[in-house]
Amino acid sequence: MFELSQDHEDFRKVVRDFAEKEVAPNIAKWDADAYFPTDLVPKMGDLGLFGLVVPEEYGGSAGEGGGDFTSLCVAIEELGRVDQSIGITLSAGVGLGINPILTFGNDEQKERFLPDLVAGRALAGFGLTEPEAGSDARATRTKAVRDGDEWVISGAKAFITNSGTDITSVVTVTARTGTEDDGTAQISAILVPAGTPGFTVEPAYHKLGWHVSDTHGLTFEGCRVPAGNLLGAEGEGFKQFLKTLDDGRIAISALAVGCAQACLELATDYAKTRTAFGRPIGVNQGIAFQIADLAVMVEGARMLTYKAAWLKDELHAGRRSVKEVKHAAAIAKLYSTEAAVTATRIATQVFGGNGFMEEFPVARFYRDAKILEIGEGTSEVQRMLIARGLGLPQA
């Protein structure tokens, strides 16, 4: 069976230390100001966080006895335990920024973008979602038309993480590049470097949570990029992002574990120290049992997450099938994110009135948790995938 190695645990300690020293003291202010801490990104790069699944030739540490997807999940969990926005910045930076280029890019594209992304000198985004196309990616309206040696892109993307930071270097954009034989849209992925004329980053969204994460809508009007910016083969876009999203689901699951873990620790401490009617509130079973349930949820979420991560690493080593990983990823994502939302509800309830106050981190976790059930496929989409994996009849 799977287990976390001593290396993973050693690494967990370092990331926890980093998060507590570099993130925790600043996060309340960053959150209140919706400030993206650009300076933190290269520090995360120095730790090696962006390179865990990237081979050494591009500055990463992946390989036999080196980094793996499980260690990335450890890092996301530990950052997420202190702040969810910082966790998603890493998760999206690797899963959506680096991964498509690493997996589908040619040598020239990889050499051009990866070293800076791995070092934390740059961030990349993945422009898939549109105002009217999310998991239903066939409905993508953004189109790219070939004109000589260039692609001309027009359309709009929504909710694109890490797309508008001062160090964003490139966004991988999915667009219709034609029509398949069966009449459905042919989708391709194209690299659009930041600053390309015709590529506009819209002002940041006002979000319920994840205030510190950088999220923008993007518009493309006659945006021209060289034909060589096509990522992989023409018409591969659909397959590419399905694969990208599978990994992302496990990463979001790890982020949810961090959220639930934080709630468990905060609620436990509070129940021990806060007194009401002359005794610590944790004496009351109404509080204690909820926290006990919370501990069970954290453990369950963590097991499902790391099992999925382990399967993913085993898949990479050729010992497991894509189908197993997909199924495990959907199960982990569904359970962990719903557990995280429940965990924030319990924790804020334990905190009473203080749980509603922004000076207590549980309030921030409460706001941050909801998106976990939505991003990278809603809970409903996960249930759909799980049902499909079980072989249930499909509409």
Binding site: F11, D17, D46, G48, L49, L52, S61, G67, S71
Partner: protein, 260 residues
């Protein structure tokens, strides 16, 4: 340049630290330990010097089995090798005995150009070991460095005082203790954690160093903790109600206690 960094494994200062009831020594069992944060500055400074030129960094600790974690952390940060002096007889040693063990270990390591230490440990906080160690090794001691440069066989430090700033030089080999102002210690990287597993760590006993057990430990200590008591719970504060004379009441409160 061969650099030895002396580090200490201490109980986490963030945790509830206490003493062993049996012999009044520091309780190292019930509190998680770590590499003393003040020693991280010493490790960082050594690594910077080694990276700037040719150099090898050996990290040295004296402590029980668990102290291996302090070496591990320093190796993860980038030190080249470790030496762990571990002997049951060392338990309860004071600064004098600790400096003896460290000195003998450094002699055994041999051909050392620079010994770097933190300014004090975060548990004992005596800050005397660096000077004692230098004395035993016959090295110049330049302590409380908030800046260090090494050039042409000379170490130059800046020592910040309340009234003045001193620039002090010492010819190598020398011992330098560094403050928490000198640098910003790095976090181990993922690659550093992986690389640390392959780095050599020697474990030496007192016999390996030719130190007699009677010279160290609680019985040989020049000082001992006679008794200890838990910090009294914080007493209730005094609330001054402002009835138009709040300022006067505050001033009276402060002057009564000679704060103003």
């Amino acid at each position: 340049m061969n650099i030895v960094v002396c580090v200490k494994y201490v109980p986490d200062a963030q945790a509830e630290r206490t003493f062993n009831a049996s012999d009044n020594t520091t309780d190292r069992e019930n509190v998680d330990g770590l590499l003393s944060e003040l020693d991280e500055y010493a490790v960082e400074e050594a690594l910077k010097l080694a990276e700037a030129g040719e150099g090898e960094v050996t990290v040295l600790t004296v402590g029980p089995d668990s102290a291996a974690d302090a070496i591990k952390k320093a190796l993860q940060m980038g030190a080249d090798k470790g030496v762990h002096v571990n002997d049951a007889a060392i338990h309860g040693s004071d600064a004098v005995a600790t400096s003896l063990v460290l000195a003998e270990a450094i002699k055994k390591i041999g051909s050392v150009d620079l010994v770097i230490t933190g300014m004090a440990s975060t548990d004992g906080t005596m800050g005397v070991v660096p000077a004692m160690l230098a004395e035993r090794l016959g090295l110049p001691a330049v302590t409380y460095a908030s800046e260090l440069t090494v050039d042409g066989g000379v170490a130059t430090i800046r020592r910040d005082g309340d009234a003045s700033t001193q620039t002090i030089t010492a010819t190598l080999p020398a011992l330098v203790s560094v403050t928490d102002q000198i640098n910003e210690p790095r976090y181990p990287s993922f690659k550093g954690i992986m690389a640390a597993k392959k780095k050599p760590v020697d474990t030496w006993s007192l016999a390996d160093l030719g130190v007699d057990a009677s010279q160290v430990g609680l019985d040989a200590a020049w000082t001992r903790v006679e008794s200890f008591a838990a910090r009294p719970p914080r007493s209730q504060g005094q609330i001054v109600t402002d009835e138009g004379d709040g300022g006067q009441k505050l001033a009276a409160f402060l002057s009564e206690r000679k704060f103003v």
